[in-house]
């Protein structure tokens, strides 16, 4: 048994963390994707999982989503152990995972449909979130008629429309162009402020992580582990435009690069 992890005192009110992972290990046959990983995800914050590709970010996110079983360890969401996907979590996929034969509004209302919400009600809700992500007017368009950035907005609206407390995002902006990505990052900051949700955000971009995160968990491979947790604080209130020029922002980017560079071939 592994005893290196100090146990925190058991609290019987609503826990501080929306999500906690306890001593998660995951093996794919011979490949050890995660080993004994413990992390806390505070409520209402955006926490990034940052690390080189292959270090197990997607694996960890899917374990939290309940899409993958850990080999050992457990995940708690609001103090309840995760045994599978649940209404408290929604997922935004790297490849969007839209249904190509369904219109934007049907794609966005898919989660509500699976929850048994009546058609007219779910389309009302979906239409509202389609407007919120800036796709008003495209309700009846099909995914192949949209640009990559617009498709991911559909994926985002689908995840928002089920009103889950935890949003799991797997490199959601990696497949969109640079300009769109910047706009997305700004919008995401607004979303974190306005929606009372916990965001777990996987990225391999250092700048992106520092720009959007309240906390950054840096994951390193071989064996996969949490290397350190960084909490950018000083520049969040300076406004979207000034963050990228802020000295603290630039320092943190440098600092992260310094710890990651040895792992990049």
């Amino acid at each position: 048994m592994d005893m290196s992890q100090t146990k925190t005192v058991v609290v019987d009110t609503v826990p501080e963390s929306a999500v906690s992972t306890r001593n998660i290990s995951k093996n794919y046959g011979e490949v050890e994707a995660l080993r004994d990983l413990s992390l806390e995800f505070p409520r209402g914050q955006l926490i990034s999982l940052l690390g080189p590709s292959g270090c197990g970010k997607t694996t960890l996110l899917k374990i939290i989503a309940g899409l993958l079983e850990p080999t050992s360890g457990e995940v708690e969401v609001n103090g309840k152990t995760v045994t599978g996907p649940g209404p408290d979590r929604a997922f935004v996929f790297q490849d969007f995972a839209l249904l190509p034969w369904a219109s934007v509004i049907r794609n966005v209302s898919f989660g509500l449909e699976m929850r048994g919400v009546a058609k007219s009600e779910r389309e009302d809700i979906a239409a509202r979130y389609i407007k919120e992500v800036g796709l008003g007017g495209f309700e009846n368009a099909y995914p192949h008629e949209l640009s990559g950035g617009m498709r991911q907005r559909v994926g985002l609206a689908r995840a928002l429309s089920v009103d889950a407390e935890v949003l799991l995002m797997d490199e959601p902006f990696s497949a969109v162009d640079e300009q769109t990505r910047r706009k997305f990052q700004e919008d995401l900051l607004g979303l974190v402020q306005n929606e009372n949700k916990t965001f777990i955000f996987v990225t391999h971009s250092i700048e992106e992580a520092v720009y959007v995160s309240d906390q950054i968990a840096i994951l390193l491979p071989r064996p996969s582990r949490v290397h350190e947790i960084i909490r950018p604080s000083g520049f969040r209130e300076k406004g979207a435009d000034n963050i990228r020029r802020d000295p603290e922002y630039l320092d943190i980017v440098d600092q992260i690069w310094a710890s990651l560079r040895t792992y990049v071939e």
Binding site: L67, L99, A102, M114, S147, R153
Partner: protein, 275 residues
């Protein structure tokens, strides 16, 4: 500002909303033109003549008209359509059901796939005597011939398409709390439907061949009888008229199937997101 006009989305360019697909009437014109060319070539080949046993297009159409008027054609089809309709219906329903099953379960894949692969590869003409031995010369044998021709490609296409449903779409379904049944009905089947329909088209064409083959090889009845009989008395226009009518029927039926697909799965003609 009307809502129908897409509003510009910052940072999200929308490419050429005005691009139109070719009008359906143009496709129709093309079909008619290619049919005319084909019939023209047939007429010329018949007039040259390529062979004494090869009638012209107009002669064949004359024979077709004659058979339609005197009722031979309709009595023949009343006979031929029985094994064809029964066999195609069984193949489509059972074929898709088994295909879904095989595609969804490794066990049924292991159990059934070899049977259908063998069925697809088997030389049917060699099997017909065995079928006749076991089931006689009646409807059963003919239905079986149609099924042997039609079913394997339907099963194998359906199974393959089901197995190839993108993993990320199924994962999306699970993440948004879809039940296993919903994942099959709302994700796997729509995703597989273009390939299932392609299998149906191939299977049904093969079923038509099977129905005629059964009538030529088991007992001459229906359209097969017209072909056999008119060849034996050297009435080649009637023989070609019968062959032409069965091809025409197959083409019409496949077009009907295409329309059905377009109604059932509207997204299928809209192209797929490839990236």
């Amino acid at each position: 500002m009307t809502n129908a006009e897409p509003t510009a989305v910052p940072g999200a360019p929308f490419g050429a909303p005005g691009t139109k697909r070719p009008l359906p009437s143009r496709a129709l014109v093309l079909k008619i033109v290619s049919a005319l060319i084909l019939f023209g070539a047939w007429e010329i080949a018949g007039r040259v003549p390529v062979s004494l046993a090869f009638p012209t297009f107009l002669e064949s159409m004359g024979a077709l008209f004659r058979m339609a008027v005197d009722g031979t054609l309709w009595t023949a089809y009343a006979e031929t359509l029985q094994p064809l309709a029964v066999g195609v219906a069984i193949s489509a329903v059972l074929g898709i059901a088994i295909g879904l099953w095989v595609g969804l379960s490794d066990f049924f894949d292991w159990l059934f796939s070899p049977i259908f692969i063998v069925m697809q590869a088997a030389p049917l003409a060699a099997l017909i005597p065995l079928l006749v031995l076991a089931y006689g010369i009646g409807l059963t044998s003919k239905v079986l011939v149609v099924c042997i021709m039609a079913m394997p490609v339907i099963v194998l296409n359906t199974a393959g398409a089901v197995r190839n449903t993108p993993e990320s779409m199924k994962e999306m379904g699970k993440a948004f709390l879809a039940s296993d049944l919903s994942i099959i009905l709302k994700i796997i089947i729509p995703a597989a439907s273009p390939v299932i329909f392609a299998g149906l088209r191939l299977g049904i064409s093969a079923g038509f061949i099977g129905a005629i083959l059964a009538e030529l090889k088991i007992t001459p009845t229906g359209v097969g009888d017209i072909i056999t009989y008119s060849r034996s008395i050297a009435d080649y226009p009637s023989m070609y008229a019968a062959i032409f009518s069965i091809i025409l029927l197959a083409v019409l039926f496949l077009n009907l199937l295409e329309k059905t697909e377009a109604v059932l799965f509207k997204g299928n003609q809209r192209g797929y997101v490839s990236d």
